[in-house]
Amino acid sequence: MRFAELRNTEGELRAFQLRLGVAGFAVLVAFGLLLARFIWLQVLQHDAYRAKAEENRISIVPLAPARGLVLDRNGGVLARNYLAYTLEIFPAQVANLEGTINQLAEYVDIQQRDRARFRKLLQETKNAESLPIRTRLSDDEVARIAANRWRFTGVDIRARLFRQYPRGEVASHALGYIGRVTTRDQERLEEEGNAANYRGTDYIGKAGIEASYQQDLHGITGIERVEIDAAGRGIRSLSRTAAQAGSNVTLTLDIGLQEVAEQAFGERRGALVAIEPATGGVLAFVSMPGYDPNLFVDGIDPASWDALNNSPDLPLNNRAIAGVYPPGSTFKPYMALAALELGKRTPRSTIFDPGYFVFGDRRFRDSRPGGNGTVDLYKSIVMSSDTYYYMLANDLGIDAIAGFMQRFGFGARTGIDLEGEATGVLPSPEWKMARFKRPEQQRWYAGETISIGIGQGYNAYTPAQLALAMATLANDGVMYKPHLVSHIDNPRTGERHDVEPQLVRELGLRPEHVEFVKRAMAGVAKEGTSARAFAGAQYTSGGKTGTAQVVAMKQGEKYDESKVTERLRDHSLYIAFAPLESPKIALVVLVENGGFGARAAAPIARTVLDYYLLGKLPKAAARPAKVQEPPAESDAESD
């Protein structure tokens, strides 16, 4: 090999060095480009990238707040929380769910209902992180799973607060229940802009107070900022804002009264709503049969769900606010008041009751064959004369009746603090026009007015409406909105929010008219249709029996209770208030298919009033109320 001789020309070297220069320049340009990029990333876009790095690094872990308690007016606990261990599966991490569950069943008791419930939850909650396969594990089971924890992926034991309703079915329709947040709940929360506060919350109120006071009971979700690595493992806690427990909700409900009322129903179906006339506070809220809200807490298993849903007794129906019934004769005191107020009758004017009322070619029968003879207004209520009110309805006309009854709240939602209230029907030509399609159906016939007078016909009201009307009358025409909640306490701040009585309207009734009707209702209990039920009462009360037809009787057909199947029997109603002079309680009792009002409903009213006014426990119910204890191995949680 020859090495560069000196003939190596200057030119060639210069050309090479020029090329080196070009290369050097290219290097500078390339480094300049890098520098520009660095400045762009690290100076100009620094804030954005710093934020992204923080986002990478920090995971916000929600801390679910403890749900508020629900208490009765005397502080008795109706809904509380307790800590228990659950066995949970993270469906996203488990390939073979069935296999994993079978494997878990070797260590803990997993029933068919647990599996069914798990499948149901899986369907209802699409993006839940984890779902319980078993709740309320015993210490033994926790230990067994913990020892074999390594065999499983996507399975964990968690300590969770569980809702418990210590009194079981008592007041179930007032309390309602909570259940797992479903996909639909999630969508609603997002619409309401509440989704953020529900991160980490698995349960939400589904019915009753639990649903309508969900916001107060829920509390404020805390957050923990946790540093995580790329695999999502938590490294350390950076900061923690504790969750704020939900507020405790105290009801106006008297749970003693509630229990007495429910026991008075026994196995019968029906509803009872008792209201404090001067405030609108609901003292008892019964819809029978009830259900055990504890069934819903961990997600109800399909078998129990089917049993509740398919029972002919419709235990999930909240009869007190969603059931509509004709008021029957309990409508008469208001009709009487309308007659006085509108000047159509005076207390002294009388009619003759032959046992029927003829309108055109139709004959309206009195429930008392042969009639009551000469009947004045007082007697019309005490003896419950149908003929008197057929005539009165005819004289008043449907427009006057509807106009007057509307003021008592008939046919309108009472505004009680529960969801799912029905409107009912206050019949009027306008209502009929809107209700029906065909012109011949839309017309109001004068004959239809007649049976409206005795609370039949199209009349259909919820027990809550009847109770509100009774309370309004007892309170001399001053109507307060019925409400179940007395006050809400924030355990954090100690703040107490009282639910003030909310005046709906003052009816402006003449005091002597109100006084007259009240006295007549007192007559019902003393010497009238409910005298037997109220025999020997140590207080004065006003009342009115009612019998609501379930099947319309054909013209001339006679209703014979023994011949009608139980489900088609008349509903038995009783409205009452007591004491007469300054009423502390107004109520409605409805016993489905209970027959004559005086027989089924009035004794229940008597029992309830005896307890509320005298503290007297009915003999059958003298045993102490059964209170369910939380499982022994868990710590009761009080807030």
């Binding site: 020859r2 080196l20 050097g24 390339a30 990029r37 990333l41 100076v43 790095a53 990478n56």
Partner: protein, 370 residues
């Protein structure tokens, strides 16, 4: 003081012979930065740093040995090295082992070996030697032949497929051809031709290679797949800011968001913790290294040494630019380490051999033989 009867002064003199102080200082400074970054990238794993120190010791020995070799010896090695490397590449194509879907490895019985690594050094040697041989009468024909000598191995490596290494080999060869004086007209013509060839070339790329390029244009299209590297490394760089988060304080690094933190993406670690200021220091060190290398090339006595020194220097630049550009999200993800910084014995060895070559050329700048 004496070591084994030899005065220490003599030992130091002998060891210092042929060693270029500035070049060594720059390389060691870069390596020191690499150690610091590695300690952080390995989540404060001292054993990893110790291993790299071992690699450094071996690499320094290799550098020292190469620095002692006269350039003409290197020239003599050029053809055999190229021939062996090419034969091995053909061997890989025929019976290479497939690892991770790429046929890059040759099983030698005692271990696996990537012939493409060898080609990285053999290519500039070969071309520099060839042009040196043709010196004084270099015709376009010679460039064409050089182009062929370049194209065959590049095509073989690209087919393995290993686009990153193919590009580096192509760059090394191209630098020699460029410095040898291929006329600007032809260069421009080739550039135009290359642009025209892009669409058919695109068609020849593997799916994953296309995806890498597409991902570069918009990393968010594939945030969990191939876009993840770019997204996380740009976040690391950007969140570093001007002064950086401080050594060992990079959250992207320490929470393991940066993939391949110790090797190809170590620049993201460095940049996150030392910020723009650190990047400037790094760029300055590379610029100094390149300037020193180009100066050595400019002073080199023969065409062979000039071309070799220029090519080796520009390869340092290419490594640094491609790697930093990739981490900063302006170049596609190709497996190119950051010179002197990335963890890895082979890479460090190759780099210090390059430094040794430059030193040998510098040492023999005045030796002119006939």
């Amino acid at each position: 003081m004496e070591i084994a009867g030899i005065p220490l002064r003599r030992v130091r003199e002998r060891l210092g012979e042929g060693i270029d102080g500035p070049l060594l200082a720059i390389a060691l400074a870069l390596t020191a930065i690499g150690m610091a970054a590695l300690y952080s990238a390995s989540i404060e794993n001292a054993a990893r740093v110790a291993a790299q120190l071992g690699n450094l010791a071996v690499a320094l020995v290799a550098m020292w040995l190469i620095a002692q070799v006269p350039p003409q010896t290197l020239a003599r090695l050029a053809l055999p090295a190229y021939a062996v490397a090419l034969a091995l590449l053909l061997g890989v194509a025929a019976f290479g082992e497939v690892v991770n879907g790429a046929r890059r490895w040759l099983n030698l019985g005692f271990g696996r070996f990537q012939p493409s690594e060898m080609m990285k050094i053999a290519m500039p040697l070969m071309l520099a030697w060839y042009f040196h041989r043709r010196e004084g009468s270099i015709l376009l024909r010679d460039f064409a032949l050089a182009g062929l000598m370049l194209a065959v191995p590049v095509a073989l490596v690209a087919r393995q497929p290993d686009l990153g290494t193919a590009l580096l080999i192509a760059a090394a060869g191209f630098y020699v051809i460029f410095l040898a004086g291929l006329s600007w007209k032809v260069l421009v013509g080739l550039a135009v031709l290359a642009l025209a060839a892009l669409p058919p070339l695109w068609g020849m790329l593997h799916d994953y290679q296309r995806r890498r390029i597409l991902t570069l244009l918009d990393p968010s299209t594939d945030p969990l797949g191939s876009g993840y590297h770019i997204i996380q490394s740009t976040i690391a760089v950007g969140s570093g800011g001007i002064a950086g988060k401080g050594w060992l304080n990079g959250s992207q690094t320490h929470l393991e968001f940066i993939p391949e933190r110790a090797t190809d993406f170590i620049f993201a670690v460095f940049s996150e913790e030392f910020g723009l200021i650190g990047n400037l220091v790094l760029l300055a060190l590379y610029a100094l290294l390149i300037a020193r290398g180009l100066a050595i090339a400019a002073q080199a006595p023969t065409l062979f040494t000039r071309l070799l020194a220029g090519s080796v220097t520009l390869i340092f630049f290419t490594y640094a630019f491609v790697n930093m550009g990739m981490v900063a999200g302006i170049l596609p993800v190709v497996g190119v380490p950051l010179p002197f910084i990335s963890y890895g014995g082979t890479a460090l060895m190759t780099l210090y051999i390059g430094i040794g070559i430059l030193m040998a050329i510098y040492r023999h700048r005045k030796l002119v033989q006939t």
